[in-house]
């Protein structure tokens, strides 16, 4: 008798547990399976006319392009910024996103090179890491000049790693 009752109890309890799991599983799966986009690849963004840049003087430009965020497709969204440094007819571009923890890098207070306002990483004029916690140099972005306008291949990179890898 006791054995039958015990078996019945076990069956009922496991049935209830299974029911709870069944109710819990779909929302948990939905929340855990987050949207993964993967590297976006090449994306050329027009910025500013080459003529408007002064030699050797870093200029901050906004990255304006179409952006998809979840269900929303925004035309001409401001995605971020980049630093441009002109040298004659060529332009070097650096992502403003600090490779350390993602704050926006600013020009250094003394006017030489760059520095991050959050954790004091500093970089020289060519984006090379000088001091502070940043694990790598500033992320350089490819540039080209099309019809007198500087274009940047805008990408994002994983933070906090010595090797840079695109996200």
């Amino acid at each position: 008798m006791t054995t039958r009752r015990r078996v019945l109890e076990v069956v009922l309890v496991s049935g209830a547990a299974a029911l709870c799991t069944a109710a819990l599983a779909p929302p948990v799966v939905f929340v855990v399976a987050s949207a993964r986009r993967g590297p976006r690849g090449e994306r050329w963004v027009r910025t500013i006319a080459l003529d408007h840049l002064r030699d050797g003087e870093p200029a901050r430009v906004k990255i304006v392009a179409d952006e998809r965020d979840a269900w929303k497709l925004e035309k001409n969204a401001e995605l971020g910024s980049a630093w441009l440094v002109r040298a004659g007819d060529t332009v070097r571009a650096y992502s403003v996103v600090c490779p350390h923890l993602g704050c926006s890098i600013d020009v250094a207070a003394n006017g030489k090179g760059f520095e991050c306002p959050c954790h004091e990483s500093s970089f020289d004029e060519s984006g090379k890491r000088e001091s502070g916690p940043s694990p790598r140099d500033m992320d350089a972005l490819a540039t080209r000049v099309e019809g007198g306008v500087v274009e940047i291949d805008f990408r994002r990179f994983k933070l906090g790693t010595a090797e840079r890898s695109e996200i």
């Binding site: 986009r37 006319a49 408007h52 923890l101 993602g102 704050c103 890098i105 306002p117 959050c118």
Partner: protein, 580 residues
């Protein structure tokens, strides 16, 4: 039958209430238990104010800031509600820590109360998580950048980066992240906190029933002494929260979150001690410093019941742990505040972001477009013109607070084309504020100072200079002039040897001096920004690449709307007034 009897008969209300009030308490009345009661009271306050706040909050990137702005600045008592919610939350976090410290040092963590004690430790984590997720909901610069850095710290964890993606619901801190934070803050975490509180009470009551049953007599009930303490502490806390809300006028709202801006990210004050810990670690150690240190503290308090060897009385290990954490956290928080107070650059950035917040808040009083507050800021004429001027013009020109006079390579624009400026130009064109620092230095002769070695120079009489200045200033203002205006006659006779006037000049078109009709008017400025070589202002050779630092052509690069906006902006600012 009274209502009380009616309910008693069906729900056992009176009996249950009496039992609760007469419930034995273990070890007599204590303030630690009153802290627990106050935490429960704060949970009720937060739930009520939270529910009220959700009625006017919209968790989307475009609407979050605008809805919080509306709640705070437009709706009646919205500021009060946000303030109470904020200060109740921060008080709750502090009291939850105090509660655990009191329990751990007083020995209330020992068997068989350990589950209730661990529930209190876990509640600190849940409350902190609720504070952090709540901080991002207004989607302002402060919350956005603080979370962005925190999620980046999570991303650098040694186990791989899926943690960050899981928190954010995707690769970026965007819409899905906000949705998750809102769900966690408004639904999941309150339920978790309530469940932990319930667990704790169950554990304490079971313990009290057990030992009161054992001793049977001389056991104090909840009423009256403990109840009086509970009410006193909860009431004092309520008064404190009300006072703070009134003094700081609610909760702050920074400028709308802008991923393309630079903002000196800082965590909330209760996390500043971790921000400071980071300064002692570098490289791989950073993750362990920022997440490992709080995790270690957490684990220490959570496993205290099992590592504490002392069986009775106050806990030495618990007291040392509580005291050491308190001293360390206070000292580190203080050090972080000192560091930021000394940091001139940070203070400047903070002042700028406050000014930006004020501008956005004022502008939003007129309503925010459905595209969101960033679109509102981007499309506001005055702000847009300021940004355009700062980005495009102030690299060479100085105008008001824009530009750096030491780096200027173009004329200063304050008062440009106005009478005093024109007179100065006629007398000394190469003054520092005029052509002195530009590509045109030496190109225009003075009208009343003889060039070197030119004996037969005839200076322009003062009254002629005055007439010219008067005439040209009228051109800038768009005022009508007589056909036989003296100044106009001189301009046409004398200036056109180099300048154009109404498209005509005495040279063969190879000159470099600009058009003087309409000089300084909106149309002239617009033409000059659009294309300085169009002959409407200067001529083809104005863009000669050999002329270093000449003014570039902005037409094509800037939209016609932007060029027009800039022209009207310059026109207004030259006169020291606002746009329109």
């Amino acid at each position: 039958m009274s209502l009380g009897d009616y309910l008693e008969d069906r729900l056992g209300t009176r009996r249950r209430l009496r039992a609760a009030l007469a419930h034995p308490i273990a070890g007599g009345p204590s303030w630690a238990r009153s802290v627990g009661f106050t935490l429960l009271f704060l949970l009720v306050v937060l739930t009520l104010t939270g529910i009220a706040l959700t009625t006017s909050y919209a968790p989307t990137i475009e609407s979050a800031w605008a809805s919080v702005h509306y709640t705070t600045y437009v709706m009646s008592h919205g500021w009060l509600l946000r303030g109470l919610h904020r200060f109740a939350a921060e008080t709750m976090l502090v009291l939850a820590c105090a509660h655990v410290a009191m329990l751990a040092s007083g020995g209330a963590h020992r068997k068989p109360r350990e589950i209730g004690y661990v529930a209190a430790v876990l509640a600190i984590g849940a409350i902190a998580a609720a504070c952090i997720t709540g901080g991002v909901l207004p989607w302002d610069q402060r919350g956005y950048w603080a979370r962005r850095v925190e999620i980046s710290i999570a991303e650098t964890n040694p186990l791989g980066s899926d943690l960050a993606r899981w928190i954010q619901g995707g690769d970026d801190l965007g819409q899905l992240a906000l949705g998750r934070m809102f769900a966690a803050h408004a639904i999941v975490l309150p339920l978790v906190i309530a469940a932990l509180f319930r667990l704790r009470r169950r554990s304490e009551w079971t313990f009290a029933e057990k030992i009161s049953g054992r001793h049977n007599s001389g056991f104090e009930s909840y009423v009256p002494r403990q109840a009086a303490r509970d009410l006193a502490l909860a009431a004092s806390t309520a008064i404190l929260i009300g006072y703070a809300t009134n003094k700081f006028h609610g909760a702050p709202l920074a400028a709308p979150a802008d991923p393309s801006s630079d903002f000196p990210a800082r965590p909330e004050w209760y996390l500043m001690w971790l921000f400071e810990v980071r300064h002692f670690a570098s490289g791989r150690m950073e993750f362990w410093a920022t997440l490992g240190v709080p995790a270690a503290l957490f684990v220490f308090f959570a496993v205290l019941p099992w590592i504490d060897r002392r069986r009775h009385g106050a806990s030495i290990l618990g007291s040392i742990g509580a005291l050491a954490s308190l001293v360390a956290i206070v000292a580190l928080t203080h050090a972080a505040a000192e560091r930021d107070a000394r940091d001139v650059k940070y203070q400047k950035a903070l002042a700028e972001s406050r000014a930006r917040a004020k501008v956005a808040i004022d502008l939003a009083m007129k309503g925010v477009p459905p595209q969101g507050p960033l679109a509102m800021l981007r499309d506001d004429p005055e702000l847009r013109a300021e940004t355009l001027f700062a980005d495009r013009c102030a690299t060479c020109h100085v105008l008001g607070s824009f530009g750096d006079a030491k780096k200027a390579t173009a004329p200063k624009l304050d008062g440009w084309s106005q009478k005093p400026w024109l007179l100065a130009m006629l007398h000394d064109p190469d003054g520092d504020d005029r052509f002195g620092r530009t590509a045109y230095r030496g190109e225009m002769p003075s009208m009343d100072v003889a060039p070197k070695g030119k004996e037969d120079f005839v200076a322009m009489p003062q009254e002629d200079a005055l007439a010219v200045a008067q005439f040209l200033a009228a051109q800038a203002d768009g005022a009508a002039t007589d056909a036989d205006d003296a100044g106009k006659k001189i301009v046409k006779d004398r200036c056109t040897s180099c300048h154009l006037f109404e498209g005509e000049g005495d040279d063969d078109g190879s000159g470099i001096a600009p058009e003087l009709s309409g000089y300084g008017s909106v149309a002239w400025i617009r033409a000059q920004i659009d294309d300085p070589s169009s002959k409407a202002t200067y001529r083809e050779n104005a863009l000669d690449p050999k002329r270093k630092r000449h003014m570039p052509k902005f037409g094509g690069d800037l939209s016609a709307n932007d060029v027009d906006l800039l022209a009207r902006f310059v026109y207004a600012k030259v006169r020291g007034s606002g746009l329109d």
